[in-house]
């Protein structure tokens, strides 16, 4: 084996090690990937053999939700936290059962942030709108478990989560104006940087500054759950 070949092999190994490290670390910020996941049991995956074990627990992480949404923002973060606490309320003993949860969104699908939030709820709980799985022999149906219902005059963000087995139900109310916010100077700076970044007119420093500012709120909501009682209220129905 000549020295040139050895050099190439050694470089390739180095590159492979480096790729493997990058994969371990993942593409996401540590502060997002370390957020406690939502633990779910998925009977359909068990039935059709996708899991190793019958009681296998599947973690739905915040970064999974980021992958599904294509981004992380205060809305995605709020939906993840709201979903986590609603499921804890319905399943205090352990992992929630995916596919056995109904979600009612109070309002229209295209209203405000309902679309983004309902997609997160759908992804985690398995509750689907009319496009969902129709079921096997009448079981494991996901279709129509996610519905948009009239607001009945109420304002703000309201969602009902219910178990299809026990009929237990809880109401989630979110007060967006109490969500963790940037200080006024930071909010102004974020607005300034938003346009420049979206339209590709930002410098490298401005791109980094924008991302860090944007992530501050996401982390405060999703990772720290800062001031949660002020913006998230869950009551048993």
């Amino acid at each position: 084996m000549g020295p040139e070949f050895q050099q190439v092999t050694s470089n390739r190994k180095k590159a492979e090690r480096s790729d493997s490290n990058a994969e371990d670390r993942g593409p996401f910020r540590e502060s997002l990937s370390s957020i406690e996941p939502i633990r779910m049991h998925e009977p359909l995956a068990v039935l059709l053999g996708a899991t190793n074990d019958e009681r296998e627990i599947i973690n739905y992480t915040f970064t999974d939700v980021v992958k599904m949404s294509g981004h992380a923002c205060p809305t995605v973060a709020t939906a993840f936290v709201a979903c986590k606490h609603a499921l804890r309320n319905l399943y205090p003993e352990g992992p929630a059962e995916r596919g056995s949860i109904k979600v009612s969104v109070h309002g229209e699908p295209d209203e405000g942030i309902h679309g983004v939030m309902s997609q997160v709820f759908s992804y985690v709980t398995g509750a689907c709108p009319e496009t969902g799985f129709k079921g096997l022999y009448g079981l494991h149906k996901r279709k129509d478990l996610l519905r948009f219902v009239p607001t009945e005059g109420a304002t703000g963000l309201r969602f009902d989560f219910s178990r299809t087995d026990t009929k237990d139900s809880c109401r989630v109310t979110i007060n967006p104006s109490s969500l963790p916010a940037l200080p006024p100077s930071g909010a102004r700076r974020l607005d300034e940087l938003m346009e420049k970044n979206v339209w590709q007119g930002a410098t490298k420093e401005e791109r980094i500054e924008f991302r860090d500012l944007w992530m501050q709120r996401v982390i405060a909501i999703a990772a720290e759950e800062r001031d949660r009682p002020l913006w998230l209220h869950i009551e048993k129905k």
């Binding site: 923002c73 809305t75 938003m194 346009e195 339209w199 590709q200 007119g201 410098t203």
Partner: protein, 407 residues
């Protein structure tokens, strides 16, 4: 020789009017005139007939006892594919004489939009490119029918969605005029130093152009689909293709404007001139087509319920450079009783407390122009400034807080 038929609608029931008028219109031959007498103002019918290019409508008597409409189906000159090919051939070299252009306008003036559309479609099948037709034939056709379009335009009042879209067009046109002037100035300079204060001007114009994207979004997501439901699809398709072209160029112009002085000045100059001249010319033409063709078609075909839906959906998306009055929460501040030294601080404190998308309306006993310059210095791009009243004793100004993107 012109033949005139008379139809008297006075005293007839709605059903009787309907059953007599429309068969008479359909049966009207080329060169014939229908004179219709009404005992009410037939304005909706006038608008409806103006949407049908085969008729020429005029009012011979305008009430108050009797209204008489003269509806003519004029003889059309027979335009052939050969005529259109001839025009395209003349235009191909790019140096069409004014006489030839005038002759082409006359040919195209005599053809209705539907016939022209069919002939264009046949030319495309024979191998003429749709770009050539769009760029040459459409341009000269628009010149030919320009005056008639403007004269027949239906205007609507605020807060109708078309009023908002047309007001936004006025603001965008103002930006384009400033862009055109800037391009002319840039042609005269050869370094960033010579460009001086025009670089921030370019950034400001680029900002206004990209900010107007929500205007296109409302058209594409809300208005156009409803027009298309009435089987009118080609004009909206062309408008959407235009939007894509503009989006790419706006982004490129924004990028160049914010490139600092990293780029070689000659490259910077070439790009700004190319992009700026294109946008100033083509976006202006596009706006003319929307104001005078697309929006007019929409006004003719959409039902009141559809307009209510359009308004609701537009409100959801939000507005850019012009916000309809009913969508702009306003805080009013009467400064007249206050000592002058307290006024500026109060104005800024109140304005800064506003949520984006709302406005502060101040009433003052003199023109608050210096305040405008303070806003310009401290909050450039974040505010709008519109006088509601300009003297002689009091001045009222609406200072809007522009809405940034929110997620």
């Amino acid at each position: 020789m012109e033949q005139t038929q008379v139809l008297d609608m006075r005293g007839l029931s709605h059903e009787e009017k309907h059953s007599r008028l429309f068969p008479s219109l359909d049966g009207l031959a080329e060169g014939q005139v229908l004179q219709v007498h009404f005992d009410f103002n037939p304005l909706p019918l006038v608008h409806m007939l103006k949407a049908r290019p085969e008729f020429v409508v005029s009012q011979e008597s305008g009430g108050p006892q009797e209204w008489i409409l003269r509806i003519e189906r004029p003889r059309r000159g027979t335009v052939t594919k050969a005529d259109l090919k001839g025009i395209l051939r003349e235009m191909k070299g790019g140096n069409m004489s004014e006489d030839a252009r005038k002759a082409a306008r006359e040919v195209l003036k005599s053809v209705d939009a539907k016939t022209l559309g069919i002939l264009e479609q046949e030319l495309i099948r024979e191998g003429v490119s749709s770009e050539e037709i769009r760029e040459n034939l459409c341009e000269i056709h628009l010149e030919a029918i320009h005056d008639a379009l403007v004269a027949n335009r239906i205007d609507v009042a605020s807060p109708h969605p078309i009023h908002t879209l047309m007001e936004e067009h006025k603001v965008i046109l103002d930006t384009l005029h400033r862009l055109r002037a800037l391009v002319d100035r840039i042609k005269q300079v050869n370094s960033y130093e010579e460009l001086g204060d025009d670089l921030p001007v370019l950034k400001d114009l680029a900002h206004h152009l990209v900010e107007a994207e929500s205007h296109h979004q409302r058209e594409e997501d809300v208005l156009f689909p409803r027009i298309e439901k009435h089987d009118i699809t080609e004009p909206t398709k062309i408008m959407k293709e235009d939007h894509t072209e503009f989006l790419q160029r706006k982004r490129a112009l924004y990028k160049v404007a914010h490139s600092g002085t990293d780029m070689r000045f000659a490259d910077f100059k070439e790009m700004v001139i190319g992009l700026g001249a294109y946008l100033a010319k083509e976006l202006e033409r596009h706006i003319f087509k929307e104001d005078n063709i697309i929006y007019q078609i929409a006004l003719q075909v959409l039902t009141p319920q559809e307009w209510a839906d359009v308004k609701r959906d537009c409100d959801k998306i939000g507005y850019c450079c012009f916000t309809p009055g009913d969508q702009c929460p306003t805080v009013e501040l009467d400064l007249r009783p206050l000592p002058p030294r307290q006024r500026h601080q109060l104005i800024f404190d109140t304005w800064r407390s506003l949520t984006p998308g709302s406005a502060l309306r101040i009433i003052n006993d003199h023109d608050p122009k210096p305040l405008y310059y303070q806003f310009e210095a401290e909050h450039k791009g974040e505010f709008t400034w519109d006088y509601d009243q300009q003297g002689p004793e009091d001045w009222a100004v609406r200072i809007g807080r522009t809405a940034p993107c929110s997620c």
